[in-house]
């Protein structure tokens, strides 16, 4: 509980400190994180690994994370790091990871690296997760592990389920982060749980979309398109029509490459909701 209160203070202190130092020597560096908020630092003896995102917190669902590594002695940021990471969740009976991308350098930035991670669950107090970073700088290997706080998102933006093919899948809403009335581009990540540690992207399936508004007679909206796989960003894309603001349930049906339904049902008079769905509110 205390951390919840201390963390923002630390953030403010760090931010104000970095502000004051930036003014002195490296004003360009600060531009690289201008629109980002710090999630937390992972400190080792030599380095401080700074984790950022647009919201400044880890939440269940899809997280786009930005990372930079500071040399504690020189107070400068490395431009040539190779970073790999592993999120881990400690559950009472088992330890598992979650879908996460590789980490690459942000184009046009010198010190900033990015990757994405999907947290499919969390404990009610945000505990349970840790993050291990293995990185190399100038041929030297380093490792750092720290517990992280993952807050529960207000709406279901990720779900993990067993398909009819006896495979466990995870589906996570990536876009729209900021939905608006009209046709939104919807982007979803689909992952298969191969093992406790391996969550590869599932390719070339189809995700059928039926958005509904349960607060208003469970009506749908026109001109939605089903999501299909895009091999260049390895995500699923479709059109999501939102006719009004409010709470929407995105009912989904997952079809494999041979169009067999793996999970989800049609919404009908008697079936208000598919067993596979995501939620959205704006």
């Amino acid at each position: 509980m205390k951390l919840k209160y201390i963390l923002p203070i630390i953030c403010i202190v760090i931010l104000s400190m970095s502000c004051s130092t930036d003014d002195d020597d490296t004003p360009q560096t600060i531009d690289e994180i201008a629109e980002l908020k710090k999630i937390q630092d992972i400190t080792t003896n030599e380095h401080t690994i700074e984790l950022y995102s647009k919201s400044g917190v880890f939440k269940t669902g899809y997280n786009e994370v930005f990372i930079r590594i500071k040399n504690n002695t020189e107070q400068s940021y490395f431009e040539n790091a190779n970073i790999a990471w592993t999120p881990m969740m400690q559950m009472p009976s088992m330890l598992h990871s979650s879908p996460h991308s590789t980490i690459s350098k942000v184009s046009n930035k010198k010190t900033l690296y990015t990757g994405s991670v999907v947290y499919q669950m969390t404990n009610t107090d945000g505990s349970g997760w840790s993050l291990t970073l293995n990185y190399s700088i100038n041929g030297m290997e380093y490792s750092a592990t720290e517990t992280i706080n993952v807050m529960q998102s207000a709406k279901q933006n990720v779900t993990s389920f067993m398909g009819s093919d006896d495979t466990r899948y995870i589906i996570a809403l990536i876009e729209p982060l900021d939905p608006s009335i009209g046709i939104n581009d919807i982007t979803v990540g689909l992952y298969k749980m191969e093992s406790m540690m391996s969550f590869p992207v599932v390719e070339n399936y189809t995700i059928m979309l039926d958005p509904r508004m349960p607060g208003m007679g469970n009506h749908s909206s026109p001109n939605n398109t089903d999501l299909s796989f895009n091999s260049s960003d390895t995500m699923y894309h479709g059109d999501l029509s939102l006719t009004m603001t409010g709470y929407w349930v995105l009912n989904l049906k997952l079809l494999n490459t041979s169009d067999t339904v793996l999970k989800g049902e049609d919404v009908t008079e008697s079936n208000e909701k598919s067993s596979l769905y995501l939620e959205l509110e704006f």
Binding site: S180, I181, G182, I183, M213, G215, M216, G217, H219, S220, S221, P222, N223, S241, T243, M244, T245, G246, Y247, E281, F282
Partner: protein, 665 residues
């Protein structure tokens, strides 16, 4: 005084063709259809059945006009069986547009009889003087005053009706000097729920309204004057028994300033230029309804700026009228639904996405007196019409349906018509031909999930609609044989690209309980026909008999009947009138609505007939005049509804009323 009597007669026999013609002679013999309603403030109110009846009730007395009723207030006028979207309704030539997406605030609801001198109703393309239309035009003409040095005149009105405990009070001051006139009036009306026949209370039929107006004129020279006019109208707590929502506020502010030039000796006989502004706020909500699937608010706003400039020229046998006008309107309406689960956020959408309409056009009319018996007249209006969706969110919401839609749409609109009149001895006839176009209304073009409680469908506008085009033919004939006058009046409209909502089974309705979604589309064509026969017999100097029978027909190219087409209708009345007393007994009714339109949500309305009785007395106390009007409406307390009653809400049962006007010169 002679004119006065003619006007009075026309009002009393407002159903007849001839009386209308008579009135018109004073102004322009070519006007085909002109119903002149004289406001209570004028002396002639003596002959009205009710001095304080609403504008709606006045309009309903006309053949061609039917009033669509959603409650006891704000009835929607229809001409030739065509409603608001196909009409052009103006106040003294000023464009003004309702702010309600559900047509709960026709323009006629924002003025009161106390503001008006007369209402001009023109059928079809004759109604295009102020704007494009297909069905016709209504111009609510504001009472004008003159520089006649009559000094101060005061009049007061009081009225009461038993049905609904309806109370009215009005006060009117008029000052007229040599160079200046000032008139101001106010009227207040309040009614509880009315009772249908059989003492059945119609819930949510109450209303309250007041209206204030001011008019001033200043004479610059003998030929020139400037005038200004302001009307403020506010209705609150208006119930709509036929609809799922009520109106907590309907407010209009209407203002204008004009310049007038008149000279009988110059080439240009008169010139009038007016600049105007009006703003309407309409707040629709369901807070008075105990049981709704979901609470919602639907406010709407409509602001219009505009001008017109009219010029009259007389040359030889020609009478020219030119009218250059333009306006800019902004229509915005939104809808907020409050979720029943407290942790869900409010749901919001734009139902009219801030639609801007810009119009500019020119009207010209020539009346050509060929000889003593014959005349020809030509009317034309050409206009440029632009719509723009100014709200991005609104545009994006419409782009869900029309991904390639752009925010701006322009149109050219044409109207042209001609008529020929022959008048000799006891016979007169007018033949008319016309072609006209109209742009889709804001709802038809840009409405977003507008729930129509009539057919229970959600309606979606269609920005790609073509102009609706109408070809019309009309005939009007009268023959007088001694004390008997016979009249025939008929029009036929062939309307191409007739705009109407078509079911789209693929779209899921938004409104809870709606049957589905209709998208505005165009039928290839539709035909509307009407015919009225009239007979008027003067039995003696005081006694007369008048009767009218009418038939209407409307059908679309999809072989479905059109909705809201009046069935066979009739009226018969016996009048007794002397200078100080008048009385009348009326029978009016409709036949069975056999040609109803189930496809557009109608059910068959059975035949009905109701009986009314009315009396009027006039008293002079010193120089003051007191006019009493009293009577019984629906004497037999018949429980009925007509084809024009939204969702078959029953009309008023028996009603005793009394109106009193005191005029202090």
């Amino acid at each position: 005084m002679k004119h006065l009597i003619i006007v009075v007669a026309s009002v009393l026999f407002g159903h007849t063709l001839f009386a209308q013609n008579n009135v018109v002679t004073k102004r322009d013999t070519t006007e085909l259809e002109k119903i002149i309603v004289v406001a209570e403030r004028k002396l002639s109110n003596y002959r009205q059945e009710k001095t304080l009846s609403s504008v709606d009730t006045y309009l309903e007395k006309s053949n061609r006009v039917t009033m669509i009723k959603r409650g006891n207030y704000a009835w929607e006028p229809a001409i030739n069986n065509m409603i608001s979207d196909r009409l052009n309704v103006t106040i003294d030539g000023m464009q003004i547009f309702g702010a309600c997406t559900d047509k709960m605030d026709p323009i006629t609801s924002y003025v009161d009889v106390s503001n008006l001198e007369q209402v001009t109703v023109n059928s079809g393309q004759e109604g295009t003087e102020n704007g494009h239309c297909v069905g016709g035009g209504i111009d609510l003409q504001i009472a004008s005053s003159h520089f006649n040095e009559s000094g101060l005149k005061t009049s007061a009105d009081l009225g009461y009706e038993t049905n609904g405990n309806y109370k009215m009070a009005g006060l009117d001051f008029e000052y007229s000097g040599d160079k200046l006139y000032l008139t101001t009036d106010g009227i207040y009306r309040t009614s509880d729920n009315y009772k249908a026949g059989g003492n059945e209370e119609v819930a949510y039929s109450q209303f309250k309204k007041y209206n204030l107006s001011f008019k001033g004129g200043y004479k610059l020279t003998n030929q020139q004057a400037i005038e200004t006019n302001v009307i403020y109208d506010k209705a609150t707590d208006v119930g709509y028994p036929a609809l799922p929502m009520d109106v907590s506020l309907a407010e209009a502010f209407i203002a204008s300033a004009s310049y007038h030039y008149k000279n009988q000796s110059t080439f240009i006989k008169s010139l009038e230029t007016k600049f105007y502004f009006n703003s309407i706020t309409h707040i629709m909500d369901d807070s008075n309804r105990p049981d709704v699937p979901i609470r919602m608010d639907m406010p709407g706003w409509s602001d219009t700026y505009g001008f017109y400039s009219k010029m009259k020229i007389n040359a030889n046998k020609h009478h020219f009228l030119m009218n250059l006008n333009g306006y800019h309107n902004r229509s915005l309406a939104e809808m907020t639904m409050f979720s029943n689960s407290p942790n869900e956020p409010d749901m919001f959408m734009y139902t009219w996405p801030d639609v801007r309409t810009f119009y500019s056009g020119l009207y010209a009319k020539d009346h050509w007196q060929l000889n003593t018996f014959e005349s020809l007249s030509f009317h034309t209006r050409l206009g440029y019409h632009l719509n723009k969706v100014a709200n991005d969110v609104g545009l994006h919401s419409l782009q869900i349906f029309y991904p390639d839609m752009e925010d701006t749409q322009t149109r050219f609109l044409t109207s042209i018509s001609t008529d020929y009149t022959f008048q000799k001895n006891q016979f007169n006839t007018t033949l008319g031909l016309g072609y006209g176009e109209r742009a889709p209304s804001v709802s038809e073009g840009y409405g977003f999930f507008l729930f129509n409680s009539f057919d229970k469908y959600d309606y979606i506008g269609n920005p790609h609609l073509k102009n609706e085009k109408a070809i019309e033919v009309n005939i009007k004939s009268g023959y007088q044989f001694k004390t008997i006058k016979l009249g025939l009046e008929s029009s036929f409209f062939h309307i191409s690209d007739y705009i109407i909502g078509e079911i789209d089974p693929d779209i899921s309705p938004m409104t809870i309980g709606a049957n589905g979604v209709r998208v505005y589309q165009a039928l290839n064509h539709a035909s509307i026909f009407n015919v009225y026969l009239n007979a008027h017999i003067s039995i003696s100097k005081a006694f007369s008999f008048n009767s009218t029978i009418g038939y209407n027909y409307g059908r679309g190219s999809n072989h479905n009947n059109l909705p809201l087409i009046k069935p066979l209708s009739y009226l018969a009345e016996v009048n007794y009138g002397t200078p100080k007393f008048n009385g009348a007994i009326q029978l009016e009714g409709n036949g069975n609505q056999s040609k109803y339109s189930p496809f557009y949500g109608e059910n068959e309305t059975p035949a009905y007939a109701v009986l009314h009785l009315n009396f009027g007395n006039i008293l002079y106390v010193k120089h003051n005049k007191i006019v009493f009007k009293y009577g019984i409406e629906n004497i037999l307390d018949t429980h009925y509804s007509t084809f024009a009653d939204w969702n078959n809400i029953p009309r008023q049962g028996r009603n005793f009323y009394v109106n009193m006007s005191v005029i202090i010169p």
